[in-house]
């Protein structure tokens, strides 16, 4: 770690004005390319970046694996991407209110495999899916009804619903197989 970076990080963590200003200029520059996509939220996201950086630096997360500037640039890019995703992608809402039926209380071994989901295992399953399945489920996630999807893809409604179910089962099967391969490797 360069002594200058160490000093700057320490000054920034203490809230020393020059350090804060220097870091702030870098953060604004690093977040600049995201402005177009974030629109009016950009200022809020930049503030979120500032808070995140302050928290990380105070917790000593900056360990000198790169220059302080590169580190800040990477944190900014990461936070901006997270913010873009929060805006753009809403997961399917869980329609089960507290008084609605609860999820299955006795999960099967398969359900336990699926519960171990993380970004990479999900991505591995997705990459094994056909483009047709990805397209169909992409439209479902975009909030289209089966009638709208049927009209767009030129399929009969019944066939479409069966196809969505088969895609789901195929994904489950891939996840099960990947988990078995992983267990064998261990």
């Amino acid at each position: 770690m360069s002594p200058d970076d160490l000093q700057l990080a320490a000054d920034f963590a203490r809230g020393e004005r020059r350090a804060v200003e220097a870091v702030d200029v870098w953060l604004a520059r690093a977040a600049g390319p995201f402005r177009r996509r974030l629109g009016a939220d950009w200022e809020d996201v930049l503030q979120e970046v500032r808070m995140e950086v302050l928290d990380l630096v105070r917790r000593g997360s900056f360990r000198g694996g790169s220059s302080l500037k590169t580190y800040l640039w990477q944190v900014t890019a990461h936070t901006c991407i997270d913010a873009l995703r929060r805006r753009a992608r809403r997961p399917l809402a869980d329609p089960l209110e507290p008084d609605d039926p609860r999820p299955c209380p006795d999960p099967s071994p398969l359900d336990r495999i699926l519960a171990r989901e993380n970004d990479e295992t999900l991505l591995a399953v997705l990459e094994a899916m056909s483009s047709e399945c990805r397209e169909l489920w992409g439209l479902i996630l975009a909030g289209l009804s089966y009638r709208e999807i049927s009209a767009r893809l030129g399929s009969k409604e019944g066939a479409l619903r069966v196809r969505a179910l088969r895609c789901r089962e195929r994904a489950v099967e891939v996840a099960r197989r990947n988990a078995l391969v992983e267990e064998d490797a261990q």
């Binding site: 990477q74 991407i81 619903r161 179910l165 996840a175």
Partner: protein, 298 residues
């Protein structure tokens, strides 16, 4: 086969994706809910459908995009898998492009101070070398484009300079505006308050001289209490400069409980001169008040 809610399990299973994305008819939603209430197997299906939505909505983790843009290894992340996904996912490709654009700005930012630190001899040497390389490259092939990254870096560095200057200008403007806001929000102390009598209260034979009003330098406002004998209802008022031009006008003045009307005028409107305030009560004729302003050092 469970037929709770008037639906069989197979029908429920097919509809679950749309149950989750909220596009089913309310009656179908209700039937599915009734079915799920008494069917553990379909509740398991519901969990798997939610999981499938996570799969089909999966994207490259933000940390992996950063790693790809900076060409870094990413702990616990399969970057080959991420690259493969980026090729087929427009959203991730666009996000990666943004992260790379940000990274280029960092590189351009680093290039500037380094260039300034070059010693003169080295600078001239670099220039000569660059010219030689450029000449040689031009002779080799006009299609070679090795100079483009350098041009792009210079263009970006220039752009950063422009933005720096713009940021400085905005910071100065912000400081000025903050100062102005502080000044406007500060309490007005030593507010000059002047009681003015209508001109008609003086001798009728001659136009009375305006009442002398001493305004301390620095005062933002000067308050007038217009002692009117007709202060019974709302009134309008206007202020005329020595040339007889109306420079301020207001309506809806209410009579004070102590009698007359009160109003405050911004001193920025006023010079050392004689002014006429015309008061027009809703009922009754107008009254004029002549005042002669003089600024004094307190």
């Amino acid at each position: 086969m469970n037929e709770a809610g008037g639906m069989v399990c197979a029908e429920v299973a097919e509809l679950l994706p749309w149950f989750l994305n909220g596009t089913l008819k309310p009656s179908d939603v209700q039937r599915i809910r009734s079915h799920l209430e008494s069917c553990p197997s379909c509740r398991g299906d519901l969990g798997r459908t939610q999981w499938a939505s996570s799969v089909f909505g999966a994207h490259v983790p933000a940390a992996a995009l950063v790693a790809l843009a900076w060409n870094l290894p990413a702990e616990g992340l399969d970057l080959d898998l991420c690259r493969q996904h980026v090729k087929s996912c427009q959203a991730c490709a666009e996000e990666l492009a943004l992260v790379r654009e940000s990274r280029e700005l960092e590189s351009a930012d680093e290039a500037r101070p380094a260039a300034r630190q070059l010693r003169p001899a080295l600078r001239w040497g670099s220039l000569a070398a660059a010219l030689a390389v450029g000449f040689g490259a031009g002779l080799l092939s006009l299609r070679l484009t090795v100079h483009r990254p350098a041009q792009e870096a210079r263009r970006l560095a220039g752009r950063v300079d422009e933005l720096d200057a713009q940021v400085r200008r905005l910071q100065e403007a912000e400081a000025r505006l903050r100062g102005e806001v502080r000044r406007l929000e500060a309490p007005e102390i030593n507010l000059p308050i002047v009681e003015a009598l209508p001109d008609s209260a003086g001798p009728r034979s001659q136009k009375p001289p305006g009442a002398r009003v001493l305004v301390p330098t620095g005062a933002r406002l000067v308050a007038f209490v217009l002692s009117s004998g007709r202060a019974a209802g709302p009134a309008a008022a206007e202020l005329r400069n020595p040339q007889g031009e109306v420079i301020w006008r207001s309506s809806g003045l209410q009579p004070s409980r102590l009698g007359g009307y009160a109003l405050a005028l911004p001193t920025s409107l006023l010079k050392d001169a004689e002014y006429t305030i015309t008061l027009r009560p809703d009922t009754g004729g107008p009254e004029t008040y002549s005042v002669r302003l003089e600024r004094v050092h307190p």
